[in-house]
């Protein structure tokens, strides 16, 4: 493709917008991962599978219960979040005393199980999910037609991300959570049920993943492997942003999406690798991540 600077603005802004849309997904997913890691020190490899489950719950609801998108936005995160809570209670809790790597391996194994089961049942090409009627159609922006649904994705994910950030950094509940990770014994001494908070936090992070899945269903096709390759990009985003930083993941998520979009205009072959190149650079220059605190 062309690598001349005089790219027509149509192509440039179009790809930037697509990049923002992709970035929304990176932001929500890395937010969930950052919440779980920052507060619980668990690397949740199952995140991609939970994202996929969110999309499938939306599909199930439409297929078998006739419940549409708006219901799915509510029900899917709850359902998958509850599954996450069950997972944490039965399996993850046992690993807290051990090296954190075991958490990574366990969640990796769980991701394999979940993805394998779904693949068995549904094959690995996508199942269609209709865009909700209220959001069909598009708006002609001059340089491209922006489908309304994709605009909604950007707006909604911004709201979710900023809302989560606000809860964690600015409310009392968030303060308890942050305190509990720094010094669980002391916080427990204050009478706060730390294990329950940890469980709920994990559930919340998982619910965020499922929410992203519902958002993705109309665009990316509901497909058992939809989370598998995405999760690694999200890991890179979290590493770039700083492993424990909430704002870091949000900003990095959107930022990475935009950079990917720009790369697609000027040098499309590199669009897959640019995130990892950035990650390598960040690691060389600032190992704790752009917004992270040195550990």
């Amino acid at each position: 493709m062309s690598s001349v600077f005089g790219i027509p603005p149509q192509a440039l802004f179009g790809q930037l917008l697509i990049g923002l849309i992709n970035g929304s997904f990176y932001a929500i997913l890395s937010l969930g991962l950052a919440v779980i890691f920052g507060l619980l020190n668990i690397i949740n490899f199952t995140h991609g599978a939970q994202y996929m489950m969110g999309a499938f719950v939306a599909w199930f609801l439409l297929q078998y219960a006739g419940l549409g998108y708006w219901w799915a936005l509510l029900v899917a995160p709850l359902a998958v979040g509850l599954l996450g809570v069950a997972l944490e209670r039965t399996m993850l809790q046992r690993l807290y005393k051990l090296d954190h790597l075991y958490g990574l391996l366990l969640t990796f194994g769980l991701a394999l199980i979940i993805q394998g089961l779904f693949r068995n049942e549904f094959g690995s090409s996508g199942l269609p999910y209709r865009i909700p009627d209220a959001l069909t159609g598009g708006r002609n922006l001059g340089f491209m037609v922006l489908p309304n649904y994709r605009a909604w994705v950007i707006v909604f994910s911004l709201l979710v991300c900023l809302g989560t950030w606000w809860v964690i950094e600015r409310t009392r509940l968030g303060a308890y959570l942050r305190a509990a990770t720094e010094n669980p014994t002391l916080v427990r001494a204050f009478g706060i049920n730390v294990p329950r908070m940890i469980t709920l936090t994990y559930g919340f992070g998982v619910a965020l993943a499922a929410l992203a899945g519902v958002l993705a269903a109309p665009i990316y096709q509901v497909n058992p492997l939809m989370g598998a390759d995405l999760i690694i990009v999200v890991f890179a985003v979290v590493v770039i942003g700083g492993m424990g930083s909430i704002m870091g993941s949000i900003v990095t998520g959107f930022g990475v999406g935009v950079i990917e979009g720009l790369t697609k205009v000027f040098y499309p072959e590199a669009s897959n690798t640019v995130i990892f190149v950035i990650m390598a650079l960040v690691l060389l220059v600032k190992p704790a991540g752009l917004f992270g605190r040195a550990q």
Partner: protein, 325 residues
């Protein structure tokens, strides 16, 4: 930060000749098995198991003896496979040179990746290796010489050292067995050497090792490169055996598989990775008809191993026999 010792019994260095004898005995059993097996079992399947066994042993060097979990080892396996395939097919190199070329490429890649990743530890190290491996995957996807999704096909098996025609399956089998045994012994020697001792010291108490004057990062990097090199050897050999180099070998699911093999066999044991590799390859073969059930079974094994079976098969066996394996 928790060290490897807290979740895995540290492999005992041979202090007594009795320990050595048991390991020699186990080694003899293993070699005897692999020498006799091809007359009963489909040899191509066995060759696959041997290549993966070498790969798992190389991986185990890093996790079991240095305490670093690399989640991107597929990059070395696959990249070496591509280089070997290209050298054999396009440049017409004889198989021994082609495999050496692949191994060298993997070592160089190991140096680059290691230099970046060693800066961090534990989980960060794992995530960085995963992300860098993914970068290598996408490079392999785009680079013209790998032919992307098609892979490099019809790789000639050639004639080894101008003497052995590798198109004859049994000849090829014993060559592969020789490569595996060579790699295995190299790892064994590396562990049971002053170098291995220093690695153990670094793993157990890095600040103290540093205070004694050992540059910990350099030793870790050397171990990383060695592990990458041997993974490359496995990858290059596999490309010659299957006459194909493809994206599957650089994909991150392959990195996960080698972790599975080592975990199942026993992290940090000498023979664990071999047993683990053999079982996983057999499982894949046997369950291939059932499609995605293979992935599910692999996931179940992962979960069970992490929750209840952390020592792995050979690890448990060693504990029961009270010997080091």
């Amino acid at each position: 930060m928790a060290t490897v010792d807290e979740y895995v019994e540290a492999p005992a260095l041979p202090a007594t000749s009795a320990t050595l004898r048991h390991q020699y005995a186990a080694f003899a059993v293993m070699v005897a098995f692999f020498v006799l097996a091809p007359f009963v079992v489909y040899p191509v399947f066995l060759m696959k198991a041997l290549c993966f066994a070498l790969f798992a042993c190389a991986f185990n060097l890093l996790i079991g003896y240095v305490g670093l979990l690399s989640f991107g080892h597929a990059a070395f396996l696959g990249a070496a496979g591509y280089v070997t395939a290209h050298a054999a097919k396009v440049w017409g190199w004889p198989p021994e040179l082609a495999i050496l070329g692949g191994t060298a490429a993997a070592a160089a890649l190991g140096l680059a990746v290691g230099a970046l990743a060693i800066r961090r530890q534990g989980i960060y190290f794992a995530m960085i290796t995963l992300a860098l491996a993914q970068m290598i995957y996408f490079f392999c996807l785009q680079a013209p010489f790998t032919h992307g999704e098609d892979g490099i096909q019809a790789v000639p098996r050639g004639t080894l050292l101008a003497l052995f025609d590798l198109r004859r399956t049994m000849t090829l089998y014993f060559v592969v067995l020789a490569i595996f045994v060579g790699g295995f012994l190299l790892i064994y020697r590396a562990i049971h050497s002053p170098f291995g001792q220093i690695l153990k010291a670094i793993r157990e108490n890095e600040p103290r090792a540093v205070s004694l004057g050992y540059k910990a990062d350099q030793y870790k990097l050397i171990a990383f490169v060695l592990s990458a090199l041997l993974s490359g050897l496995a990858g290059g050999t596999k490309a010659i055996v299957f006459q194909l180099a493809s994206l599957t070998d650089v994909h991150w699911t392959m990195s996960g598989e080698v972790v599975l093999m080592t975990l199942l066999g026993g992290l940090g044991t000498v023979f664990g990775p071999v047993a683990g590799a053999f079982i996983v390859v057999a499982l894949e073969n046997y369950l291939a008809q059932l499609g995605a059930w293979v992935t599910v079974v692999q996931g179940v094994i992962f979960v069970l191993c992490v929750l209840t079976f952390r020592r792995g098969i050979v690890g448990e066996l060693a504990r029961v026999l009270k010997k080091s394996l």
